[in-house]
Amino acid sequence: MPDSAIVANGLTKRFGDVEALCGVDLEVPTASVFALLGPNGAGKTTTVRILATLLRADGGTATVGGYDVARQQKQVRAHIGLSGQYAAVNEALTGEENLEMVGRLYRMRRPAARKRALELLERFELTDAARRPVKTYSGGMRRRLDLAAALVARPPVVFLDEPTTGLDPRSRLGMWDTIERLVGRGATVLLTTQYLEEADRLAANVAVIDRGGVIAEGSPTELKSRVGGERVEVTTSTREGAPDAAQALQAIADGEVQVDPEAATVTVPVRGGSRSLMDAVRLLDASSVDVADISLRRPTLDDVFLSLTGHAAEESEEQGEEVPA
């Protein structure tokens, strides 16, 4: 296995008039979790589909496990596991049968496929439901089964396309645990997500993707440091109060103070931690600004996204990742 399990250089893809990818470069170190973070329609799924040999790039090259995704498709496929946005399992078959079938299609012998199916059902806490048709499963159970199916052949590289989209918070936490254990085993995981929290929690490296291109890359910590440090956020009781608050807080600002008159919020970059918060309260009090809310915020990936793209991660939600055939 090469040092980088996944390498992509200048991937481009166009669907009719839509430029889905305009030169995506990625390098994913072996045995690490890498998150492709971006809103719907950013090109995350298209990138995964190209890397998983489901789609051909118009331009650029990519290798997975050292194999060329365009020229060595069979080798790539024998090397990867894919779990998509939907539970890609047969509703009429039981959990056990679904996993066995996938094992057989990975060309495992029947006893081996069976054994592996039982192992995975146990690991994903599906043993009790193993002999029930999948149509009786809950959403979370289906997704677990789908992930299990991706792991049947113990693939060194696993693609997880939005593994927790649509899951309730409890199932999401369970999924995160599973993904963490996966990596403990030495697998390379490329996951796509719209949830900044998810990337932050799981990934060693994050590529922020927007409108078909990677706009930033690095560890969650590196990305956070790009937006600068902490900030004090103040919401004033009236819209008119916001500029006054901004004025008052200039004294403790470590950079430009941002005012959002619509939301009546003021954001002040600071350095002193909770000390700055107390200073801010004092300054606001002294200038008689009516404050509805005040807090010290440490940067999140949300802030990274906002500062990199100029729009919030959720903004382009309706565009949809759906692409024509």
């Binding site: 040999t53 789609l55 069979k74 399992v89 078959l93 060309r107």
Partner: protein, 266 residues
């Protein structure tokens, strides 16, 4: 995973093994899908009984009793419709991402379609036996025939059904969802199966329709089965039926496979 590459022999072995795996799990699923069970059992029984008793007295079929005339016709119609399960199944798989999952496996590309269409053969076999049995209960009997000819008739029917499964496969892979696959799969089969010799003698139709019905693959297959099972002379229709089926397979199997390879959906 040593099978990723290899000799032609091992590739062929694995391709067949993959197709068999898909077939097997498709068949396992059949008894668990109520809609499919109804489609496979109750519908054919209803058709045999209804057509037998509703039209039986009104339609004049020289040389054959209506029930004998009807059974080959209605079985051909049923196997022609049988492929729709493949079409709907593929459309569903596409929608739900099952096809993406399968396309990301190191399995043979043609195995999914082959497995589905071969599963249709097994289902059609079931329908044929069931309809013959129900037919016998309502008065059908084989005439001027022997076991070899009866079996030849069954094989002809299965080949015909297999050809229609590939058409349905192409439709299923080309439409946006299972509902459309269902209606698109059904709609053209009604004129095709009714404007044929399946239910009424072709010479009772207006001239323009006769011209169509004469060359209709449904007609030639129905006539061929009538010859094999009932000794009703059908000229070269056995040969024509085989040629039609092989021709349809030769066109639609590659088209469906190509469509499958190119398929990509979110």
């Amino acid at each position: 995973m040593s099978a990723a590459s290899g000799s032609l022999r091992s590739r062929t072995y694995w391709a067949l093994s993959d197709a068999w795996v898909v077939t097997k799990y498709n068949l396992i699923a059949v008894p668990r899908v109520p809609e499919l069970l109804v489609f496979l059992t109750i519908q054919p029984i209803l058709f045999v009984v209804l057509f037998r008793y509703v039209f039986g007295g009104a339609i004049d079929t020289p040389g054959l009793s209506y029930v004998n005339f009807l059974i080959p016709g209605i079985i051909v119609q049923t196997v022609a419709f049988g492929g729709i399960t493949t079409g709907i199944g593929l459309a569903e798989d596409l929608q739900k991402g099952v096809i993406d999952r399968l396309r990301s496996l190191p399995m043979a590309r043609f195995a999914l379609l082959a497995g589905r269409t071969v599963a249709d053969i097994a289902r059609n076999m079931f329908s044929i036996v069931l309809m013959v049995l129900v037919g016998i209960i309502v008065g059908f009997s084989f005439q001027d025939t022997d076991v070899a000819k009866v079996v030849a008739g069954v094989l002809l029917l299965l080949l015909f059904g297999f050809a229609f499964s590939w058409i349905a496969a192409l439709i299923g892979l080309s439409v946006p969802n299972a509902e459309v696959a269902q209606s698109a799969g059904f709609i053209w089969l009604f004129p095709l199966t009714f404007a044929s010799s399946a239910f009424v003698p072709v010479d009772s139709m207006p001239d323009w329709l006769q011209a169509f019905a004469e060359v209709n693959p449904v007609t030639v297959t129905v006539n061929a089965v009538r010859e094999l099972w009932l000794g009703a002379p059908a000229g070269n229709d056995i040969l024509w039926s085989v040629l039609w089926s092989l021709g349809l397979i030769a066109i639609f199997a590659p088209l469906a496979t190509l469509r499958y390879r190119r398929t990509s959906r979110a």
